[in-house]
């Protein structure tokens, strides 16, 4: 066998400086994007983070059972309604007591965009020094695939099923990342699992930026079970989400948006939607509505990044 060139080894491995604190056998579905993300974060940020999590797919592993735990991280199992407020309480006490900390408030889109948005917004306003990570699987997966505010137009869930009158979600998804960037917090970024080096860099940037205040990471994390996708396609789904501009990758320091990956020739959104069953029923016309939505959001993002570059950031929004 020929000697293999170690130089080919992916750079992503260089970012995995710490051990995986999780038990090898945890009950996520095969191909779960959340599992990859959850193991990745402490390998990049370190095992001394405190992770907080809510009732969700991540709950069975974030929270222990009786005296036993699924991982070696310090954690706090919180309520969905108050996730960011719980993290606030922790960092404020640590500040008072002079204890160095990296608190990662790790929640799904249901908590971040819907039921826990009020306190997420409050934490952003007060510029609380912790990292909020939203893993976005576009719905309430743990309770059995219900619609959330980030479920896209047309998608079927158990509360937006395909029927003779109503065919999937008849509303557009909310753009959580942009909503948060507009608060001019020190750091906002989107990321996904197909581009792990980008994700690792953003995690490290957030860890640094949280010294100046609130950081928000919006991570696109497919749910093969809930979306009706082949578990093997999880990474490919992420890749196509980026290539079609369905989920653009960008970051914003103090709200100044900058694309971290520019898609020169975006592919049609059908390249993405065809990878899962939740869009199966959509006609060409339905897909055109989703396509328009994607193009509108991309255009807006581009416009915002140009405007932000032109406008002088007010002193109140600077560090």
């Amino acid at each position: 066998m020929a000697e293999k060139n170690k130089a080919r080894l992916t750079k992503v491995l260089d970012y995995l400086k710490y051990d995986d604190p999780f038990s090898k056998g945890v009950s996520f579905c095969p191909g779960c994007g959340l599992e990859l993300l959850l193991r990745f974060i402490p390998r990049v940020l370190g095992n001394d983070i405190i992770i907080t999590g809510t009732p969700s797919c991540s709950a069975p592993v974030l929270l222990g059972q009786n005296k036993q735990s699924w991982h070696t991280l310090s954690y706090f199992g919180t309520l969905m309604t108050g996730a960011a407020a719980n993290a606030t309480g922790l960092v404020r006490y640590y500040k008072k007591a002079g204890i160095d900390n990296t608190v990662v408030c790790f929640n799904g889109d249901g908590t971040a965009n819907d039921i826990g948005f009020g306190n997420l917004s409050g934490a952003a306003e007060r510029n609380e020094p912790f990292i909020y990570i939203c893993y976005d699987n576009e719905g309430y997966m743990n309770t059995g695939i219900q619609k959330s505010g980030t479920t896209p137009y047309g998608a079927t869930t158990t509360t937006t099923p395909y029927g003779t009158v109503h065919k999937g979600k008849n509303l557009r998804r909310m753009n959580l990342g942009v909503k948060m960037a507009m608060n001019k917090i020190p750091y906002t970024a989107t990321a996904t699992l197909s581009d792990l080096e980008d994700l690792a860099k953003k995690l490290l940037k957030a860890k640094k930026a949280k010294e100046r205040g609130f950081c928000f990471l919006h991570v696109f994390a497919p749910c093969p079970t809930g979306w009706g996708a082949n578990p093997a396609d999880t990474i490919e789904i992420c890749r196509q989400a980026v290539k079609t501009n369905y989920f653009p990758l960008w970051e914003a320091e103090n709200g100044k948006i900058r694309m971290t990956k520019t898609v020169k020739k975006p592919k049609p959104v059908s390249n993405y939607t065809k990878l899962m069953k939740k869009f199966n029923h959509m006609t060409e016309a339905d897909l055109e509505i989703l396509q328009e939505d994607v193009e509108y959001e991309t255009c807006l993002l581009g416009g915002l990044s140009v405007l932000e570059a032109e406008c002088q950031l007010p002193v109140s929004a600077q560090d």
Binding site: Q65, L73, S74, L79, T81
Partner: protein
């Protein structure tokens, strides 16, 4: 020992100010709160102490009560001393976190300024908010006047953070009647309060959430584990009764003020009849009792200071052998003939040595429990003692309710 004579001062302040000053004296690490009538002055005062540097705490001006409770719960579990304040709808808006705080055994101290919480938007006094949250697993204490608000907040820290207890404590006081009432309050010196609270430092450290310690909180209790946690909670609540009595004694040694722990008994020893009440109404009841006593009527008062856990042992001890007991409630219990405290006391009727019980509903929706009303209650309780026919429940300030009942 009496250190107060040399180092305390008396100021005319509101109940809300008393709560805020007490919180300042307890030196909390983290305070989180959201304004609501009639509690707002508490956080205004604390914000002012914080702004002037008189209070060295992390002040979190949250965007809602739910976040206030979540923030102080987390700060408490991280190891901090915390304080928050709310009222009625605010208490209800934080209710999921109120339950989680108790379940996590976080020694949070808060004041709740009692206000009506029915379906009708009502900016008026009443204890329905307290009653609606009574089995959240918190220790509930009730203050009668501004001085007692001050003293109960200080006592609460000793109770909540005691290593043998580790439970959240809510101090209740009547909105409007006490929140905005100004009266003379003896404000203890900081050193005296520090001395009173220093006992906690000599105790073992409770479990705290710290980075890198491989320790998590908010874990699932599974089957037996869940029951173990619930049973521990119940037994800690039970322990808190005697602990509260002991803390009140120790408080008396240092501050020269004593209230009697779980209950305050006012002229009950030789009484034939007793009214059972709580909160600000007790001042009025006491003054009417003084007048009635001059006429030779042997009436006394049992003031409930600790409402959760329900102090049934102390109540039975204080009330056993009396001829008649009138229980005054400022809230409702649906489906029961009588108010909530009356209904709960009734569960121990067989232990009261034949004492007869009667329920009075009064003081809801800001109605005054006037001296006339109290006289009526005493008269009806006396009638009951004499074997006369007295309705089981009387809405004292709303005779129509009693008429409707009769017609039915």
């Amino acid at each position: 020992m009496n250190t107060t004579a040399i180092s305390s001062n008396i100021q005319v302040i509101t109940g809300n100010a008393a709560a805020a000053i007490a919180a300042k004296l307890a030196r909390p690490d983290v305070v989180a709160a959201y304004p609501i009538t009639p509690q707002t002055e508490v956080i205004e005062q604390i914000s002012s102490f914080h702004a002037s540097g008189d209070m060295d705490c992390e002040l979190i001006t949250v965007e809602g009560e739910n976040s206030a409770m979540n923030a102080v719960m987390a700060a408490s579990l991280a190891g901090g001393r915390v304080f928050t304040a709310s009222s009625s709808w605010g208490l209800v808006f934080m209710y999921d976190a109120v339950l989680a705080t108790a379940g996590a055994r976080a020694p949070v101290v808060m004041v709740n300024v009692n206000r009506e919480t029915p379906g009708i938007i009502a900016v008026s006094s009443g204890q329905q908010d307290m009653i609606s949250t009574r089995d959240a697993g918190w220790i509930f204490l009730i203050a009668e006047n501004c001085q007692e608000i001050m003293d109960l907040v200080l006592q609460s820290y000793r109770l909540a953070e005691d290593y043998d207890i580790q439970l959240p404590v809510m101090v209740h006081y009547d909105g409007f009647f006490l929140s905005y009432l100004s009266e003379g309050v003896e404000i203890p010196a900081q050193e005296t309060v520090d001395q009173f609270l220093s006992v906690l430092e000599s105790q073992p450290k409770r479990t705290m959430l710290r980075p890198g310690e491989k320790l998590g909180v908010g874990t699932h209790g599974i089957l037996g584990g869940y029951m173990e946690l619930r049973h521990k909670h119940v037994t800690a609540m039970e322990r808190s009764k005697a602990k509260f009595d002991a803390i009140d004694q120790e408080f008396a040694d240092i501050f020269s003020r004593s209230y009697g722990g779980q209950l305050e008994e006012y002229l009950t020893e030789d009484a034939d009849m007793v009214l059972v009440g709580s909160g600000s109404m007790c001042g009025t009841i006491k003054s009417v009792i003084d007048e009635q006593r001059e006429k030779g009527i042997r009436i006394g008062l049992v003031k409930i200071r600790m409402y959760r856990p329900f102090p049934h042992q102390a109540l039975v001890k204080a009330l056993k052998g009396k001829k008649a007991i009138g229980v005054v409630d400022r809230s409702l219990a649906f489906g029961f003939d009588g108010g909530p405290i009356y209904t709960e006391l009734k569960a121990f009727e067989t232990k009261l040595g034949g004492a007869k019980l009667v329920s009075f509903i009064d003081g809801i929706a800001n109605t005054d429990i006037t001296k006339t009303n109290v006289k009526q209650m005493i008269q009806m309780t006396a009638d009951l003692a004499d074997g006369k026919d007295v309705p089981e429940v009387t809405w004292v300030s709303y005779p129509k309710a009693n008429k409707d009942k009769g017609e039915k």
